[in-house]
Symmetry: C2
Subunit: 878 residues, 2 copies
C-alpha cells in the first residue's frame, strides 16, 4: 500500500502526558484508553503507544499490511518512548524492549495474541545482559521471545518449541525451566532458530520488522476462531476491531526485588471492600494469568516489599475513586519500582456486582441510578440459581479455590469439545481440566460448572467462569486427569468420564455424586437493587409459567402477572394425557365431547391454582397450541398400551397417527387452526378459565384473565374464535352472577399477523409478541433444525447473534414496530407485551422499552433480570 | 326490526320502463340489471322487481328478516306489476303468480335457490284453473310450488316429496308425472300438506307470507355450502351478496303452443356465428336446465312456431349488438307469446371466446383491446391442454354430446366426493354421473373430465364443465350406472370403478382405456389474440422450466426467458442421483470434490441445452435448494442397494440420514444455507453455468445467465456467496477469453429478506419473488400440510381464497411492495420478477403489473395466459 492515510492512527502515552484519555475507548480500546488516563493521572505506567482500532479494519482492507503512514507514526512514537526512558529500540548497549498487546473496546481476556520482549536479537540480547547484569535473564527473555514470536507471529506449533525445551531439560537433567543455565538457554535459542529455519520461516533480526509483524499478528488474532466464538457468546460486533498497545517492557523477573501481580480494588467474588489480589515474585505477568505457578495473596506483599506495596495501595484507591468502579489492575515491580500495566473495570460475580453497587451508594461514591447501570444483567441469574441443599449429606472429595460461586451438578467430561457435544445432547456436564485455555471457551459455556487442577483465583478458568456465572473450583491439586483412560482421580478416588460430581463454587468443594440443590431467594443487597429498579422502571414484568411451583417462584421473584400460561403443558401430565388422547382419537363428536367433559374439571382446577397465586395480577392463558400428534405416543409398545387402555385397536391409533402426520409441524395444523377445526376444544378451555375465575372471585380473590388465541394470521381467524370464546365466557358469567373482567387477545407470531395488525386489532384487546415463532417464520428457520448450521453462521459472522437468543431488531423488529403502530392506530388502548424467550434477554428488553411495551414476560428465573434491565433501559434512554 | 330504512331497495321493471339499467349490476345483480335493460330496450319481459344486493347483507344483520321498509317497497312494486298485467296477487279469479330467483353480481349458475309459481294457494289454484282453462295444469303448478316451497323455504328433504309422488304413481299405475290426473294431483297436494304439517312446518296460504319467506330463502342460499364452495373456486367475494328477482310467472307448459328454451347468440362451444340453443315444447324452464328431458335444437323451432321464432331471432341480434358480446338467453313462449326471461354474457369455451373475440373485431363490433378484455384468462389453458393423439388407435365405446372440448384420461369414479378424495391422493379421475347437480361442483373441479348419461348441451354438467375448461361428454344415453355394484355399463360393456377411460369432449366420444394425448399449438385466432396481447403488454413473461422439453414448449408458447430453472430437478435424474448421493455421503472434502467433479460435466451439458433453446433470452438458474436428505433413499431396500453401489455400509447411510433428519425441513438446512456450509457445491454449479455459457457463446448463441441464490434472509448470506460465485465466474471468463454478461441476484422468499431488502439489494442485481415459500412463511403455513384444514378455511370464509393459488395481496403483498420499494432505493436498476406459482395466476399477474414488475415467470402451459393477463392489466389500468 502506498496511499498514505493522513489521520492520526498512533497515540503516544508517557511522561505524564498522553494523547488519549478514558473517553476514547472506541478508538484506543479499553486498555489503551485506560493506559492514557493513568498517565494523565500521574500513575507510573511504562511509556508506549496505541495503534487505533480503525487500523484493524484497514489492516484487513489493505491485504493484511500496515500503511506507510502508520509505520511512520509508530516510528515517531518509538522515538518519544526512547527519549522518555533513555533507551533505544534495537540498541546493542541499552536496548528498549516492547510488549505488544491487543486491546478491544471491551475486554476479551485471553482471546487475542500478545508478544513480549520484542526487540531482542543476537546483538541486543548482549546489551540486555550487560544492563540487567544477568546474562541468564537476558537469554531466558530471548528464548521466550523467539518461542512466542514463532508461535504467535509465524504460526508455528508451540508444542514443537515445548518439545525442544523438554529434550534440553532431559539432556541436562533438570526439571524446571528456571534450572536451565545461560548456556542451556543459548543452545535453546540456537535450536529454536534452527527449527524455524527448517520450517521455512526465519526469525527476523531487525527489531522494526519484528514489531510490524507482531502488530499485524495481533490484528490477525481479532479474527481467530476463538475470538469469533467469544464475541458470538458475548455479542460483541465483529466490526469493532482491536487496538494494539505497544509498551516498553518492564521486568518482574529480575530477581527477588521484582515481581508481578494482578489485583482488584474489592473482592471480585464477594464484593467485600478489601484489597484483593495475587502476585508472584521474580516472574513475568503471563506466569500469573496462565495459572502455572500458584501465586501468593496480595496482603503478603506488604511485608516483602513495603514501599511498592504502599504505593500500590495508594494507586488502587486513587483509581477506584477516579473511575467510581471496582478496578482490576496488573502491576509489575522491577527491582523495587512499581509500574501499573493495566487498569480496567473489574469482572465480578453477580453477588459482588450487587454488593459493590450497594456499598458504593452507601459510601456516597455513586447514586442508586448509577448503581443500577453498574450491574450486568446477563450475570444476575447466577444469583438466582440453585445452591447446595443445606440439609443434604455431602462427601467432600477435594478442596480447591472458590473461584466462581454457586453449585453445579453434572457428569464428568474431560475435553471442551465433548462438553459441547454432550451439552447439545441435553446432558449436564462438569468440565474437568488440568487448566483451561482460551480454546476451551465453548466447552466452558456448555458446562454446568468447571473444575481445574491448577491455577489461582485469577487464572483463565476463574476469570471466565465468573464472567459466565458458572460455578468454578480452581487450582484443586487433588485432581489428576488421565485423558487416555478417560479417568480422573479426585482426592485419591478414581472417577470415570460420565460419573456424576457436584461442585460448590462458593466453598471451593468438589463433592461426590449428585447433591440436591435448592433455590435462592431475593434478599439483602439484591433486594435493595431490585427495589431501586422498581422505582425507575416503566414496563411491567410478567412470567411464562403454568405449574403452581413455577408460578409461585415467579411471584416471589417479583413477577407482576403471567404473560404466557401454556395450557398444553397441563395436558401432558400423566393423569390427563390419557383423556387428551381419548379426545384426539374420538371418532364422533359425542365421543370427543365425552373426553372434553372429563378434561374440563381438571383444567378448571389448574386455572384456579394459578389465579390463586396470582391474586390481583393479570394472567394470560394461551389456548391449546401444538399439533395434536404431539400428544400421541409414537413407539409401538406405547401405542399398544394406549390401545388397551382406551379400548381402541392399534390399527385405529396408527391410522390416526398417519392422518395427523405433518411434514412441517411448525407450519401445520396447530394454534388457532386447531380451535377452528374443533371449536369444542377452545370452548372447553374458555369455560374452564372463566369458571375458575368465577370460583376464585367468589372466594375473595381478584382475577384478571386474559385469553390468548395463538398463531393468528388473518383477522377472520380471531373474529371467528373471539365470538365463540366471548359467548362461552359471558354465559358462565351470566349463570354465576359473578362479574369477571376479562380480555381476549392474540399472539402476534406469524409475519402476516404483524402485517395486518390493523385489522386484527379490531378483534384483539391485546397483542403479545410470540417472538420465538415470529423469528422462525421471518427467517424461515426452524429452531429445532438450525443446530446444523447456526453455530457456523454465527462464527462466520453471517448472523451477528443467534436470533433465538436475542431479538433480531433489524428484521423481526420491523414487523413488531409495524404491528404496534398499526394495531394502536385501530385500538388506542391495545395492550402490548412479549412472551417469546426474548422477554428475558437484556438487549431485547431494551428494545421493548424503547417501543413502549406494556410488559415483558419471561421465565421465572429471569424475572429479576428483566426488572433490572427494564430500569436500566429507562435510565439509558433518559 | 322497526327501524325503517329510507333508501331504495326495490326496483320495478315492466311497461317498457325500468328503474334500473345494465350499469347497476352491483346493486341489482347481473340478472336484475339485464332484465331492467331489456325492458328499457322494449324487449318483451314479464314485469317484476329486483330487491337489491345490499338487502342481502342487511338481511343477515337483522337476524334474517326483511325490514318493514323493504316489505312496503315490495308491496308498491307488486301493485305496479298487477296494474301492468291486469292480474292481482292472491286474486281468486285471475291470480298473479311470481317466480323468485337469485341474481348475484356475477352469474353463479344453479348455486342458489329459486321458487316458482308463488302465489298459489287453495283459492288461487281454482282461479288459475279457470283462467288457463286447464285444471290439471293449475293443480300440477300448485303441486310443484308446494314441493319447491317445502324444500327450498322450509328446508324439508326433497326426497320425501319424491317418495310420496312415486307412491302415488305406483298406486294409480302410471310412469310419468304427466300421466297423473287432476284428481291425483289434488291428492298429492293434500298429502304434501299433511307431510309438511307432520314435520311441524305448515304451508302458508297467504301469498305475501309466501313471498317474504321465499325472498329470505334466496338470501339464505347465498350462504349455502355449495355457494361458498363455488365462490371459493371462482374467487367471488362473500360480501357481495345476491339480489332477488321477483317476476311475474309466464308458462311454457300451457300446451303445444307453449314452450321454453335457452339460446346463445353464437355457438358457445366453437364460437361459430350461428344462432344456437335448445327448447322443449310444453315445459317449464327448469326442465331444460335440469337436463331431465332431452331438448330439441333451436333451429327446429322455426317450423313449429314461426312468429315467436322470428321475433326471437330479431331480439337476439338486437341484444348482441347492444351488449357487443355473445348473449345467453332464456325464453318462454306462453300460448304463442314470446317472453325473454334473462339475458347475460354467455359462458363459452376458451376456443369460442377466442373465435368470438376475433370475429367481432373483424365484424367491426369491438376493437382489439376490447377483444382482449373479453377473454377469460382462467379458461385459456384449456386451449393449450392436450387432445387425443391423432395417430392412436381408439375404440369408441359410446357417443354423447360434445359438451366441452379437449381430451381427458382417468379412472372412472362414480361420486363427486370420491372424485375429490382420489384427486387429493394424486389420481386422475373421470367423473361419471347420470346427471350432475350443483352438489357435485367439488368433484367436477377435481375430475379430469365429466361424462353424463342425461342432459343436453346446456345441462348443468355442460355449462359447468365449459366454465372450468374440463372436457365433458354429456347426455350419453349408452351409459348406465350401478352405484351399489360400483359399476358402469358403457355401450354395453361393464366397467368397474377404477377402470381407465378416455373422453374426447370435442367429438363427444367415450373411448376405451388410456389414449395417448398430444399437445396443442398456438395458431389461428389464438395467435391473433396473443399478438394483440403482445402489442399491449409491458411486462415480460418467462417460464419456470429446466428440462429441454419444457423449455422448448415454453418458448413455443412465447416465453421470453426462464425465470426459474430449478437445478435440483436435474439432480434427481436416474443417471446422476447416484453421484449426488456420493457427494452427500462423502466423508472428506476430497471424496466430496470427487463426486462434484463427476457432476460438473453433466450439469454443464444441462445448461448448454437450456441456453441453446433460450438463445438470446435471459435464463435464471437457481442454485441447489432442497435439503440434502431429499436426495437420499429412505426405505431399507433402497438403502441397502445404494450401500452396495457406492461402497458404503448401511450403517453409514443410516447415520447420515439420521444426522440430516429435520423436524421442519421447510425451515431447515437448505437454500443458501447449504451453499454456505458447502461452498464447493455452489462453486461447481456456478462453474457449470458459466462454462456452458462460454461454450454456447463460442458456438454463436447469445447467452444471458442470471444466477439466483435461494432462501436468503440476511445480507451477509448473499454477500458471502456472491463473492464466491463471482470469483468462479470471472475465472471461467478470464480463462476462456469469452466475455459473458451475467447477473447475480436472489430470490426473495423469506419475510426477512423482504424486510431488509434495502441491504440485500447492495449485493443483488435482481430480485425474484419466490411467492410459494414467501406465502408459507408469512402465514406460517406449510403447503404440504395445509390440506387438513385449508379447504374448510376457504369454505368458512376465513381465507378469501387459497393463498397458494392466488397471491395474498393484503399480507404477502405488503412484503413484496416493501421489498421492491426498498430494494430499488438501494439499486435503481434492480430487476424485479416473480417465479412462484402465482406468476401464472391472473389476479396475481395484475398485482405484478400494478407494481411495475419487469417480468412474471410461470409454468410453460401458463405462458399464454400470462401474456394475455399482462395485456389485460395494462388495458384495465389505463
Amino acid at each position: 500500500m502506498t496511499v498514505a492515510t493522513k489521520q492520526q492512527s498512533v497515540y503516544f502515552f508517557g511522561n505524564k502526558n498522553a494523547e488519549g484519555q478514558r473517553g476514547m475507548r472506541e478508538i484506543l480500546g479499553g486498555k489503551g484508553a485506560n493506559l492514557a488516563e493513568m498517565v494523565n493521572l500521574g500513575i507510573p505506567v511504562p511509556p508506549g503507544f496505541t495503534i487505533s482500532t480503525e487500523e484493524c479494519a484497514r489492516y484487513y482492507e489493505c491485504d493484511q499490511s500496515l500503511s506507510e503512514s502508520v509505520v511512520n507514526q509508530m516510528k515517531s512514537a518509538i522515538a518519544q518512548v526512547e527519549q522518555s526512558l533513555g533507551k533505544t529500540f534495537g540498541d546493542t548497549n541499552n536496548p528498549l524492549l516492547f510488549s505488544v498487546r491487543s486491546g478491544a473496546r471491551v475486554s476479551m481476556p485471553g482471546m487475542m495474541d500478545t508478544v513480549l520482549n520484542l526487540g531482542l536479537n543476537d546483538q541486543t540480547v548482549v546489551g540486555l545482559a550487560n544492563k540487567s547484569q544477568s546474562a541468564r535473564f537476558a537469554w531466558d527473555s530471548y528464548r521466550r521471545f523467539i518461542q512466542m514470536y514463532g508461535n504467535v507471529v509465524l504460526g508455528l506449533d508451540h508444542h514443537q518449541f515445548e518439545l525442544i525445551l523438554e529434550k534440553k531439560k532431559q539432556a541436562v537433567g533438570v526439571e524446571l525451566d528456571t534450572d536451565l543455565s545461560e548456556q542451556d538457554l543459548q543452545d535453546l535459542v540456537a535450536q529454536f532458530k534452527a527449527y524455524m529455519a527448517q520450517e521455512g520461516t526465519a526469525f527476523p533480526q531487525d527489531p522494526m520488522a519484528q514489531l510490524i509483524a507482531s502488530v499485524g499478528a495481533v490484528f490477525k488474532s481479532w479474527r481467530s476462531n476463538r475470538a469469533y466464538k467469544y464475541r458470538a457468546i458475548n455479542q460483541i460486533p465483529d466490526e469493532w476491531g482491536t487496538a494494539v498497545n505497544v509498551q516498553a517492557m518492564v521486568f518482574g523477573n529480575l530477581g527477588d526485588t521484582s515481581g508481578t501481580g494482578v489485583c482488584f480494588t474489592r473482592n471480585p467474588s464477594t464484593g467485600e471492600n478489601v484489597f484483593y489480589g495475587e502476585y508472584l515474585v521474580n516472574a513475568q505477568g503471563e506466569d500469573v494469568v496462565a495459572g502455572i505457578r500458584t501465586p501468593e495473596p496480595i496482603s503478603s506483599l506488604e511485608a516483602l516489599m513495603p514501599a511498592p506495596y504502599n504505593e500500590l495501595v495508594e494507586i488502587y484507591k486513587h483509581l477506584e475513586t477516579h473511575y467510581k468502579d471496582m478496578q482490576d489492575m496488573e502491576f509489575t515491580i522491577e527491582e523495587g519500582t512499581l509500574y501499573i500495566l493495566q487498569t480496567r473495570s473489574g469482572k465480578r460475580t453477580a453477588a459482588a456486582a450487587v454488593k459493590i453497587a450497594v456499598d458504593m451508594v452507601n459510601e456516597g461514591l455513586i447514586d442508586s441510578k448509577q448503581a443500577l447501570l453498574r450491574i450486568d444483567p446477563n450475570q444476575i441469574d447466577q444469583l438466582l440459581h440453585p445452591n447446595l441443599d443445606p440439609s443434604a449429606q455431602i462427601t467432600v472429595l477435594a478442596k480447591g479455590l472458590p473461584a466462581s460461586p454457586g453449585a453445579a451438578v453434572g457428569q464428568i467430561v474431560l475435553t471442551a469439545d465433548e462438553a459441547e457435544q454432550r451439552h447439545e445432547n441435553g446432558q449436564k456436564v462438569i468440565l474437568v481440566r488440568t487448566e483451561t485455555s482460551p480454546e476451551d471457551i465453548g466447552g466452558m459455556h456448555a458446562a454446568e460448572g468447571i473444575l481445574t487442577a491448577r491455577g489461582g483465583m485469577t487464572s483463565h478458568a476463574a476469570v471466565v467462569a465468573r464472567g459466565m456465572g458458572k460455578p468454578c473450583v480452581a487450582g484443586c491439586s487433588d485432581v489428576q486427569i488421565d485423558l487416555d483412560k478417560g479417568e480422573v482421580s479426585i482426592g485419591g478416588q478414581v472417577y470415570q468420564d460420565n460419573d456424576y460430581i457436584t461442585l460448590d463454587g462458593s466453598a471451593g468443594n468438589v463433592i461426590a455424586g449428585e447433591v440436591p440443590l435448592v433455590e435462592t431467594e431475593l434478599s439483602g443487597d439484591f433486594e435493595t437493587v431490585m427495589n431501586w429498579a422498581d422505582e425507575v422502571r416503566r414496563m411491567k414484568v410478567r412470567t411464562n409459567a403454568e405449574t403452581p411451583h413455577d408460578v409461585q417462584v415467579a411471584r416471589n421473584f417479583g413477577a407482576e402477572g403471567i404473560g404466557l400460561c401454556r395450557t398444553e403443558h397441563m395436558f401432558f401430565q400423566a393423569d390427563r394425557i390419557k383423556v387428551v388422547r381419548e379426545m384426539i382419537l374420538a371418532e364422533s363428536d359425542s365421543e370427543r365431547q365425552a373426553a372434553l367433559d372429563k378434561l374440563f374439571p381438571v383444567q378448571k382446577e389448574d386455572f384456579k391454582q394459578i389465579f390463586d397465586v396470582m391474586d390481583g395480577l393479570p394472567v394470560t392463558v394461551r389456548l391449546l397450541d401444538p399439533p395434536l400428534h404431539e400428544f400421541l405416543p409414537h413407539d409401538d409398545q406405547q401405542i399398544e398400551q394406549l390401545a388397551q387402555e382406551i379400548g381402541k385397536s392399534v390399527a385405529q391409533i396408527k391410522q390416526k397417527l398417519s392422518q395427523l402426520h405433518e411434514l412441517n409441524p411448525m407450519l401445520g395444523h396447530r394454534g388457532c387452526r386447531l380451535a377452528i377445526s374443533f371449536p369444542e376444544i377452545c370452548e372447553m378451555q374458555a369455560r374452564a378459565i372463566m369458571q375458575a375465575a368465577v370460583e376464585c372471585q367468589q372466594a375473595g380473590k381478584v382475577v384478571i384473565p386474559e385469553i390468548m388465541v395463538p398463531l393468528v394470521g388473518v383477522k377472520q381467524e380471531l373474529a371467528f374464535l373471539k365470538d365463540r370464546i366471548k359467548s362461552v365466557c359471558d354465559d358462565v358469567i351470566a349463570q354465576s352472577g359473578q362479574p369477571v373482567q376479562y380480555l381476549i387477545g392474540t399472539m402476534i407470531e406469524t409475519p402476516r399477523a404483524a402485517l395486518v395488525a390493523a385489522q386484527i386489532a379490531e378483534d384483539a384487546q391485546f397483542f403479545s409478541f410470540g417472538t420465538n415463532d415470529l423469528t422462525q417464520m421471518t427467517y424461515g428457520l426452524s429452531r429445532d433444525d438450525s443446530g446444523q448450521f447456526l453455530p457456523s453462521y454465527v462464527e462466520k459472522g453471517i448472523y451477528a447473534a443467534d436470533p433465538f437468543q436475542t431479538l433480531d431488531q433489524n428484521g423481526v423488529g420491523q414487523l413488531i414496530e409495524m404491528a404496534m403502530k398499526n394495531g394502536k392506530a385501530t385500538r388506542d388502548d391495545l395492550k402490548i407485551g412479549i412472551c417469546g424467550e426474548h422477554g428475558g434477554d437484556p438487549a431485547s428488553i431494551v428494545f421493548c422499552e424503547r417501543h413502549n411495551f406494556d410488559y415483558v414476560s419471561c421465565s421465572p428465573y429471569r424475572v429479576p433480570v428483566a426488572r433490572l434491565v427494564a430500569a436500566q433501559s429507562v435510565l439509558e434512554s433518559a
